[in-house]
Symmetry: C2
Subunit: 277 residues, 2 copies
């Protein structure tokens, strides 16, 4: 395939119609060197087996999705979330990836205080960050689009994510820069630069913004090049911030999931070259 | 009805199942002193007739929705938008309301530069603001939730709206503070205070945030008290900023539109007292 794919990583969710072996085979076929994995399909396949499969294919695991959901008020729920995040760190180490993506969690039922919820995330990170550091894993706080603030992630901007991350060493806690979530934010370019200076860009993800959004808004991320986001401009900003790592394409999209996964992966790679490089 | 409704205004869209005469009758019945009107149903009824109807009922028109859509690149489209906004200013004057709500417009097809689109809005405001001022009408820039940034309004935060408004006299251009659009933004409370100091809060609107969002995300605004927004806290913030004007409830919600409009209006008034006062 024409174009430099050396930084490209395909997030497993983008082509979730492919099994893990199908995914690794397709990556090798098209010359995509990185994969971002999700815990559920990896656990189903077996963590050790998945690690071996990916390693034998010569692929790099760029991220594991996802830890997080750290906003619980209930002590039992909080303890369970912390234990689950420690398990996710262990899985990262087993898979040979240094980055655990955190979706921080929404407002618990009946709660309306976003600031208090963010402080509970900080409290949880204080327990998790050293554990992650001991295992060579960096926690990457992903700001999610504000439309997810109530039910999925109270961290809505890169500034908010950095304000949390900055309380901890950069080798323990950083951020995810995902164009889908931050493209609308005129403050995000400065935040990208700051994150880069601090060495806290732990993952860079591409998705495009297309409308109309589907019901529930989760599975409407646009194929790169189809939407409103100037992907190349964002890639240049992230590069200018000093980031030299993988560029991961993560799309949740019901329509794309109905396509042939192997061909979709090739399409993503072509579009990555055309619209982001 | 128990509680102080003296600042309450019902936006016509909240109970769009009611005709204009039904709306005014219901407002008088429940003691709701203000209405926010929309151009299309007012034009259909006749602007002069609508003005007389509302005046004879003793109601105050708190806002007219909406002008805006000022992001066109094409000169012909731009001229048409400016003419339409001047007509909207004229309608405001005829209805006796001093506030025209602006939904600024999204990205034209193929455009990806949000900053350039915002500058085109500023250019258009430079033409419209004096005209509005001459007619005793204030243009109120409404930041819309970032999920509308591509297709409806490139002004996504109160800070962005203020950055545009601040280029003009406060009696010509200000902002709308609508809880639905800004509740997630940790910078919005400071922006509310700044807008208040400048005398630029030209409208304050309440809606709650509920999930899951419906397809297209337009008609999923929550009945006040049903969602994640601390409405009383926002009302207190806006009051603390020096705002003493009407508090308008504007909901777009397919489920609510299936209810009896007169009863819905009473429900809104009760919930306004319980959750916002």
């Amino acid at each position: 395939m024409a174009g430099d794919l050396s930084r490209l990583s395909i997030n497993q969710m983008t082509v979730r119609q492919l099994s893990l072996p199908e995914l690794t085979t397709a990556c090798v076929r098209w010359g995509v060197p990185g994969v971002g994995l999700w815990r559920a399909p990896v656990q189903e396949y077996g963590v050790a087996a998945a690690a071996r499969l990916v390693r034998d294919a010569g692929l790099r695991v760029t991220t594991l999705c996802r830890g997080g959901f750290l906003t619980a008020v209930d002590p039992g729920e909080r303890a369970a979330a912390l234990a689950d995040n420690r398990a996710a760190v262990d899985e990262c180490a087993a898979l040979g990836t240094g980055t655990l993506v955190l979706v921080s969690g929404g407002l618990p039922a009946g709660e309306r205080d976003l600031g208090a919820a963010r402080e509970r995330i900080a409290d949880a990170l204080a327990e998790l960050a050293p554990y992650a550091g001991e295992h060579g894993v960096r926690l990457a706080i992903e700001p999610l689009h504000p439309m997810f603030a109530s039910d999925r992630c109270v961290v809505s901007t890169l500034d908010q994510a950095l304000a949390l991350a900055e309380r901890f060493p950069a080798e323990q806690v950083g951020v995810v820069v995902d164009t889908y979530h931050i493209w609308w934010d005129d403050r995000a370019p400065d935040a990208v630069a700051r994150a880069g200076r601090q060495g806290r860009i732990h993952s860079f993800q591409l998705a495009d913004w297309v409308t109309p959004l589907p019901a529930g808004v989760l599975n409407g991320r646009g194929l790169i090049g189809d939407g409103a986001v100037d992907l190349r401009r964002w890639r240049e900003r992230v590069d200018a911030a000093g980031y030299t790592g993988p560029i991961e394409v993560e799309l949740f999209n019901d329509e794309l999931w109905r396509r042939d996964g192997v061909e979709l992966l090739a399409d993503v790679a072509r579009r990555y070259v055309r619209h982001a490089l």
